[in-house]
Symmetry: C2
Subunit: 456 residues, 2 copies
């Protein structure tokens, strides 16, 4: 899965981002020669001329018609908030929110998180277009299929190169879904995919910053706008994905074209989607799962003398933080994950709050956890041995962690996860209403009920 | 300059864009199993939960504060048109218009067209922020410096890989310029560059479609939004450009880090900007220039028996179209370029109108043009020999075409180009007013006069 150093990367590059930022922020006003100053005005004049001269061009007309659909500004709902914004911005912000807890869905073949980029675009567009629930569900299945099939074709080479694959395929999923929702024909749908192909989003370097969550958000916005523009006649290459200078060749050193079309329409990639039960990196999930089982067996935290786990090598490589200082750091600590698993039986966003991370009993318990790499252990497995104060030893073997394709979250577990996330924002009754509205969506006349319930 | 086939590209990839488009447009509603249908609802429910749960997260607050700055919708002017739209959309559409004639500026070291992405973002933001003219000019110089320095560091490897370098560096230029215009400090400017770094735009495969012009437009919008988000506290990696998985390593196989910082603040890349005198690929420019000189010497089209030109190999490779059917095709015809050069003494957008391309005298004249590759001829040079009906032979040698760095357009020539573009849209008086307003911009209190003049 995750790899730490891209092939042939330079690790000792100078800090040029900081150098350019300092320059831009601090260079004095008009700190250059008359010739440079003159050239700035010539650049501006030439640019104005070209822009005004093209004011009636078809490309301008088509793109303008698309962005005029973003007005009036408060046209689409931000989920869980009171504000309404234009639909492109709603796609962006809801897409950011979908991923910022690192708690969303995962297409495990490609580690794409497909729901955020596709659903965020679709919900905003469906609200404005007053689309039926059926149309929305169709568009979601098809949009996710496109994003994940592109992912299948270029994973892992594309990811290894440094792309955050969720944002660099998600704009295609969003474009496909929105094209479907708009009812575009085959040719305009190809244009929507082509327009989106020019706008991949996301560098893995951003992991650990807010820009990681920007990626599905910007992908949602780019895909939505691509479909709107295609609907108004904006054009792109009909071979934007596969051409020598098309997306898949430009952003990946390897491609398997067959992945894009094999069993198209009979195998659906959304069937391979999974949902995280715990709000942290998927590699710790088997360990949390094992500790939650220990709790289920009636073991109390203060009975424990030591918890030993045999783990996959990536667990310590990615999540070996022994003394996390806050919630964000705790997401990279298998020790904290085990502690909350045993204390609470779950590891949602609340269990990674700073206050929980600093609780004395949690700190004491995490120090009793010993994780040892065992190359025979699979990524979604672990073997736990708990030694209790009374001398008992309890062994728990997790073959496939909860949330894996082999042991998917049940609908009940998914509802519980939903409540844990939504109750603090909207209250339990409204959360329950949203679960029902989502279950019935395919039969609903529109998304009005769902959207109204998502507004505090 | 332009190269025809990227290294190691696959030229025989199957038509997957069309296949996916057909699937998305035509697959029947609910054309899948109950399990797939159920998974779609689970994907949606999980996504809603994650999104609503994060509604109060700092990343959501910061991005929302940024997009709220896009309201009310009609806040920024489309140049040469009556419409007003939100400023992100104005950056997008004006950026598209700036490039759609392929007539804009060129930073010849990298073939970046820097004015479109940077100025389109700045003008929209300056109008909303009521920035002074001085601030705008400063931001333009600095923004273009950032975009072109990044280009210098990765050209030509990045371009050869298939990226349209105008859009894949332009978002950094727009972000830098907008950060400056917003008065962001060094740290937030670095964040703006980082947020923009995740959003490069543009595949060369799009050349010949409207999406080529999308690239500077989307770069302008992405950079503007990146700066707005950074201003509200949205974060990115402070090493988003140079890290092993940062932009420059992800999108280019080679980098020269020194290009980013050498002589920073003393050498300004805008000084190396050039402006096209003719509305077509730069390789034909020496030939058009030579034919316009022939006209200046008093030679009339019907006196000509034959025009022979010795040209650089790229001229025939890129612009060897003998019988162009319309204006778009004529931009790739050295023969048409020579014909209008001799008939009109210029080759602006008007001289590539379909009607001109089909005129009998133009067709007859272009058939008298013979271009022969001579490897000793430089890209911006040509040698012309005209044989007249009366037996005279006239030789014209172009060492550096007009518009090259060695023979830049004079201010008078640039004004004439501006009039040719703008007069048909706004009239000559208003065009003259815009020239004056642009010349005085650094001393203007704001962009109000300029914007008012750009509105028909």
């Amino acid at each position: 899965m995750a790899r730490n150093t891209p092939v042939q990367a330079e690790t000792d590059a100078p800090p040029v981002t900081a150098a350019l930022a300092r320059f831009v922020a601090r260079h004095p006003s008009r700190g250059w020669s008359d010739a440079v100053e003159h050239e700035a005005h010539r650049t501006l004049l030439n640019g104005l001329g070209c822009t005004i001269g093209a004011a009636q061009h078809e490309a301008v007309r088509a793109s303008l018609a698309a962005v005029q659909m973003l007005a009036p500004s408060p046209q689409a709902q931000l989920l869980g908030r009171a504000e309404r914004v234009d639909m492109a911005s709603a796609a962006l912000v809801n897409g950011i929110a979908s991923h910022v807890f690192d708690f969303d869905d995962t297409h495990l073949k490609t580690i794409i998180h497909p729901g955020g980029p596709v659903a965020s675009a679709l919900l905003a567009l469906a609200e404005v277009q007053r689309s039926s629930g059926r149309t929305l569900v169709d568009a979601l299945v098809l949009g996710i299929d496109v994003a994940c099939r592109v992912g299948n074709a270029i994973y892992p080479a594309h990811y290894d190169r440094g792309w955050h694959i969720t944002g660099s395929t998600g704009m295609l999923g969003a474009a496909a879904g929105c094209a479907r929702l708009l009812g575009l024909d085959e040719q305009r749908t190809a244009m929507a995919l082509g327009i989106a192909a020019s706008q991949p989003v996301g560098l893995r370097e951003q992991f650990g910053t807010m820009s990681k969550a920007l990626h599905p958000g910007a992908a949602a916005r780019n895909g939505l706008l691509a479909a709107l523009m295609a609907g108004h006649g904006f054009t792109a290459s009909p071979r934007a994905l596969e051409a020598p200078r098309g997306l898949l060749q430009v952003v990946s050193d390897q491609r398997d074209w067959n992945e894009l079309t094999h069993e198209l329409g009979t195998r659906f990639e959304i069937a391979f989607n999974s949902y995280k039960p715990f709000a942290c990196g998927v590699v710790i999930h088997p360990c949390i799962d094992a500790c939650a089982r220990l709790r289920e067996q009636g073991v109390k935290p203060d009975e424990v003398e030591r918890i030993e786990l045999a783990v996959h090598p990536l667990v310590l490589e990615l999540t070996g933080k022994k003394e996390p200082a806050d919630g964000l750091a705790a997401k990279f600590s298998v020790y904290h994950g085990c502690a909350v698993g045993l204390v609470f039986g779950r590891a949602g966003e609340a269990e990674f709050a700073d206050a929980v991370v600093r609780r004395d009993d949690i700190v004491a318990l995490r120090r009793k956890v010993v994780a040892t790499v065992d190359p025979r252990i699979a990524e979604d497995a672990t073997e736990l041995v708990a030694t209790l104060r009374d001398g008992r030893r309890i062994t728990i073997s997790i073959e496939h962690a909860v949330g894996s394709l082999e042991r998917p979250l049940s609908d009940g577990e998914l509802d519980a996860k939903f409540h844990a996330l939504v109750d603090p924002v909207l209250g339990a009754a409204r959360a329950e209403g949203l679960i029902g509205a989502t279950r019935r969506l395919a039969h609903a006349a529109g998304v009005d009920e769902l959207v109204a319930l998502a507004r505090p």
